[in-house]
């Protein structure tokens, strides 16, 4: 029996580093990482069979429902090797699997000596997994290639084993095959982790250096910080210091996750665990920072610390203006657990009071919005997401624009926008389609390689703004879901960019302004004016809808004046009915926003700003109501 009881296993703070193996699992969202982790919890007997539940480590509801893991955790698993019969401690560090969280992934990887590359053997490797694999290889991690879901009828283990072997330069036979569902091959995988991944190395006598690879806010305990000790030792009740800020805290509790928090006497070299200091805000315990002893601080921080930098901005407004304070409180609360979320108040003539929020990327944005709506029971409108522009005026002044309405009026010398290097993996039959899409989106091709006989890796530079628009949806729909995408920042580049305003009866509606490439200004104008013509009800006068760059009109539609709005019949019994209808309409009027003299129902704003995916959501909700 290779499992060891926790009581008998080597104890935290006194485990010999040679007995420790730190690893993470690199996998795409639905390639079965959580199921494999469940099996590992079971086979090492850290979770009793009767307490086992699916996706055990994914605590938040939102994670369980969407099948993704936002916050990583580290689980301490005792294991007796089936190869040498020795006892080991395996620390499994869970990693997020999405492009928005690349930095968090890189810190998780930095806490490990090895990585399990887990790939669904019915689908093959995905772009984000490939990107994370490269990241792991750059960090000199030992890679153990594993094909999952070998129990599936449409599994193609031979094909994808060859693909993985080609990517990491190993033999096809060295690619392990497991089924997270049935547990097949999982014990062998644990043995290989012990055999292949090097033990951590550090100086137990040096001043403590521990890497923060995650930081989570808990309503009862405050911030829980996950660390990997590199040198020295962390003990409870001792004073610790954050290297980047110099702020001192007391380590109130130190422990390991097994997989419930288990306080310990401390953490030594190579160990992974958590610590609680009583701080209430994750920004005081930042991922990537180094923790050291206050009394005997280290002189040198562990490398790679970065401040999270928001890449995508969007305005969030409550549908009901009275909910503004609720939104403010909810954002404050969320920020306790999300160091990457930034926001500031914004007021829009069309949408009222809300917040301009900055996110790491689109998924981050979606998750934040969904959590706000779910946890604070808010109904929100979000404006179209945009990137950060650097506008240089003719007088040399530089303006940072995170909101189209801040785009300067005067003489602009140039506008720079963020550019990303993107990697797309797809079956080779879609090469043409993908190139066409990238070309439409101002992409510049960098290269293309076959990663197996019928799968290619295509590399493009693309303006981030194009990706933020609806690139991912388009890529998925044009490749029937087979293509995957990853991208990384590549700095700023000058673009021929203009601000397009949408005017209702001559008045610009701030929520609809957009910064777009000059070549696309016309199509944006036509699309938006057309959409609004359908959405805004007829008024008693004609309403021109125009799209304009500065004072130049580039597209025009008009809503004809309403000609009939009367109930023809109004006799005895109709009178009460009609008066009640009027009273009801009066209520409905409160949800109207005035743009100049034009009454615009809030639904029109929502629908005009909604993406296709949003519209599907709205339709689905309506269907439920009916």
């Amino acid at each position: 029996m290779p499992a060891i009881s926790i009581a008998k296993a080597p104890q935290p703070a006194s485990t010999n580093p040679a007995q420790i193996r730190n690893f993470c699992i690199i996998a795409h969202i639905d390639h079965g990482k959580s199921t494999l982790a469940d099996r590992m919890l079971q086979i090492t007997e850290v979770v009793e069979a009767r307490l086992m539940r699916a996706q055990y480590l994914d605590r938040m509801d939102i994670e369980r429902e969407r099948g993704i893991t936002i916050k990583s955790q580290a689980v301490r698993l005792p294991w007796k090797s089936g190869i040498d019969g020795q006892e080991y401690i395996l620390n499994m560090i869970d990693t997020p699997g999405h492009v928005d969280f690349t930095y968090e992934v890189s810190r998780s990887l930095a806490a490990c000596e090895g990585a399990v590359l887990l790939v669904d053997c019915a689908q093959g490797i995905e772009a984000q997994t490939l990107a994370n694999l490269y990241l792991a290889m750059e960090n000199n991690l030992t890679i153990i290639p594993v094909l999952n879901k070998i129990d599936l009828p449409n599994a193609q283990p031979d094909k994808f084993a060859a693909e993985l072997a080609g990517l990491i330069g190993c033999k096809v036979e060295e690619v392990l095959r497991v089924s997270g569902k049935t547990g097949d091959g999982v014990a062998e995988l644990l043995d290989q982790i012990v055999a292949q991944i090097p033990a951590p190395v550090g100086d137990p006598e040096a001043p403590a250096r521990a890497l923060i690879f995650d930081s989570v806010y808990d309503a009862y305990r405050g911030v829980v910080t996950y660390v990997r000790v590199v040198d020295g030792h962390l003990s409870p009740r001792e004073q610790i210091q954050m290297f980047s800020t110099g702020v001192k805290h007391e380590a109130l509790e130190i422990g390991v996750i097994s997989p419930e928090p288990l306080p310990s006497k401390g953490l030594g070299v190579g160990e992974v665990g958590y610590l609680i200091t009583g701080v209430k805000d994750v920004r005081q315990s930042r991922v990537g920072d180094t923790i050291t002893n206050y009394a005997r601080p280290t002189k040198e921080a562990l490398g790679g610390y970065k401040d999270p930098k928001p890449m995508v901005f969007s305005g969030l407004f409550p549908l009901d203006g009275a909910d503004f304070p609720v939104l403010r409180d909810a954002l404050e609360k969320l920020q306790l657990n999300d160091a990457a979320l930034v926001y500031e108040p914004e007021s829009s003539a069309a949408l009222g009071f809300g917040f301009r929020c900055g996110f790491l990327g689109l998924l981050h944005m979606e998750i934040v919005r969904e959590r706000l709506e779910r946890e604070a029971k808010l109904n929100l409108i979000s404006t179209a997401p945009n990137v950060v522009y650097r506008v240089t005026m003719e007088d040399g002044k530089e303006i940072i624009v995170t909101n189209p309405s801040e785009f300067p009026e005067g003489k602009v010398n140039n506008v720079k926008e963020p550019i990303v290097k993107s990697t797309i993996l797809a079956p080779s039959e879609f090469i043409g389609t993908i190139m066409e899409l990238c070309q439409e989106r101002r992409g510049v091709m960098l290269g293309m390689d076959y990663i197996s006989e019928d799968r290619v890796e295509i590399r493009y530079t693309l303006p981030l703004a194009e990706i933020v628009f609806d690139f991912f949806d388009q890529l998925k729909s044009r490749t029937r879901g087979y293509a995957s995408l990853d991208y990384e920042e590549m700095g700023d580049e000058e673009g021929n960019l203009v601000k397009v305003d949408i005017l209702l009866q001559g008045e610009a509606v701030d929520a609809f302004s957009a910064i777009v490439h000059r070549d696309k200004a016309y199509s944006y104008g036509v699309m938006m004016t057309g959409k609004l013509r359908e959405l805004i009800p007829r008024q008693q006068f004609e309403v021109p809808i125009q799209a304009a760059i500065g004072s130049r009109i580039i597209a025009r539609e008009s809503i004809r004046a309403i000609r009939k709005d009367v109930l023809a019949k109004c006799y005895g019994g109709d009178i009460s009915r009609k008066r009640k209808l009027l009273e009801k309409q009066k209520e409905g009027k409160k949800r109207m926003k005035m743009v100049g003299r034009v009454e615009v129902p809030q639904e029109a704003f929502v629908a005009a700003l909604a993406t296709d995916a949003d519209i599907e959501k709205i339709k689905a909700a309506r269907k439920l109501e009916n």
């Binding site: 309403i562 009939k564 009367v566 109930l567 019949k569 109004c570 006799y571 005895g572 009178i575 008066r579």
Partner: protein, 372 residues
């Protein structure tokens, strides 16, 4: 001033667009005839009458349903009872709604003998395809015959009801209907835009995509057409959907729009007395049961707040040429009408505001705007 509305909740068959409170004999009782289901109906109405005020009556209106399905002597019992109980004014207007198919010369003579002096025929259209969509049974030629017979019988005021905007009806179809109606040399026309009421056969057909409603612009043109044609023939609008020769306005309906007092007799009938509106139980059987058990048939009531009363005043007065008295509007309400004056929907009279023809077409929007 006091009026009675008498509801006759029976029809031979239900028209596809109709959501009125009316029933066919077989809906009420399997295999029954009209005579069976309506046998004691007039008795019930007379019982309810006993519970009503005794003010002298200036208008009586028999609506439905199809009142002309009930023989003159039965409707006559109601008129006699009112005469004996309340007394009626010398010029009391007594209207009968009639289906052109269900009248004969003899019957019409009978209604005159019973005391009726105004008749309103449901003509709706002279186009067969329009009548078919509306699910009406009558032969368009019967309208002319019915009007002629009514004239022979001696009705001093004759009206026809028209409906426009049925699916498939063109502007020229409508022009033809209006021309035909006006050629009858009648005294009064009511013309209603078709309203698709939920739960009707027509609504279902539209929902299934079998029929398509004409757009609002066509409806607006149809309205302007009938307004113009009537004016040329000497019929002037006195309410949004009603035109008449001088002296032939329906005084009964005006009492609704001026919020006078009236009592509605019969199932589902609405009443208005002072600041109270109330209405009877809807189903004829429930109505009869209650009345014969000596219980009140009133189902529910509401007492209007002053604010609601003012809102009703604006909502109703704006539908008539005299318009809304400025004195009845708050400063804010008056100011909100200003832009409609600019846009040509409203005209300012010395002490009132009233609607222009294009303003009449958006009366509800204007009412809403005024009420704020």
């Amino acid at each position: 001033m006091f009026s009675y509305y008498v509801h006759i909740p029976y029809c031979v068959r239900r028209c596809g667009y109709c959501d009125f409170n009316t029933y066919t004999p077989s809906e009420l009782q399997d295999g029954a005839t009209l005579e069976i289901v309506s046998a004691d109906y007039i008795d019930a109405v007379l019982r309810e009458l006993e519970t009503t005020p005794t003010d002298e009556v200036s208008t009586i209106f028999f609506g439905g349903g199809t009142p002309s399905l009930i023989p003159p002597k039965d409707l006559g019992r109601v008129l006699t009872a009112i005469r004996n109980r309340n007394g009626i004014t010398e010029d009391c207007e007594i209207t009968l709604e009639a289906n052109p198919d269900s009248v004969t010369q003899e019957k019409l003579d009978g209604y005159i003998a019973a005391g009726f002096n105004r008749i309103s025929f449901g003509m709706q259209s002279n186009k067969e395809h329009v009548l078919k969509v509306l699910d009406r049974t009558h032969n368009p030629e019967n309208v002319r015959k019915a009007v002629d017979m009514a004239r022979v019988a001696g009705f001093p005021s004759i009206s026809v009801d028209l409906i426009y905007g049925a699916p498939g009806e063109s502007l020229s179809d409508w022009a033809s209907t209006v021309k035909e109606a006006l050629s009858l040399d009648i005294d009064h026309i009511s013309a209603y835009a078709l309203i698709v009421e939920e739960g009707t056969k027509l609504a279902a057909q539209i929902k299934r995509g079998e029929l398509t409603m004409p757009d609002d612009d066509l409806m607006a043109d149809m309205y302007l057409l009938v307004d113009q044609q009537c004016l040329q023939k000497g019929l002037k609008w006195y309410e949004l959907s009603n035109w008449s020769k001088p002296g032939h306005q329906c005084r009964h309906n005006i009492s609704y729009w001026k919020s006078k007092n009236w009592w509605g007799l019969g199932p589902g009938a609405h009443s208005h007395i002072d600041q109270k509106r109330f209405w009877n139980v809807k189903h004829p059987n429930a109505y009869k049961e209650r009345v014969f058990a000596g219980q009140s048939p009133i189902k529910d009531s509401e007492i209007l707040t002053d604010e609601q009363k003012k809102a009703e005043y604006i909502m109703l007065a704006i539908r008539m040429p005299q318009g809304v008295r400025k004195a009845a509007l708050t400063v804010a309400q008056f100011e909100r009408t200003m832009e409609y004056i600019t846009s040509g929907h409203v005209i300012e009279l010395p002490d009132a505001i009233a609607l222009t023809p294009k303003g009449r077409l958006i009366a509800d929007r204007l009412t809403q705007a005024m009420l704020g």
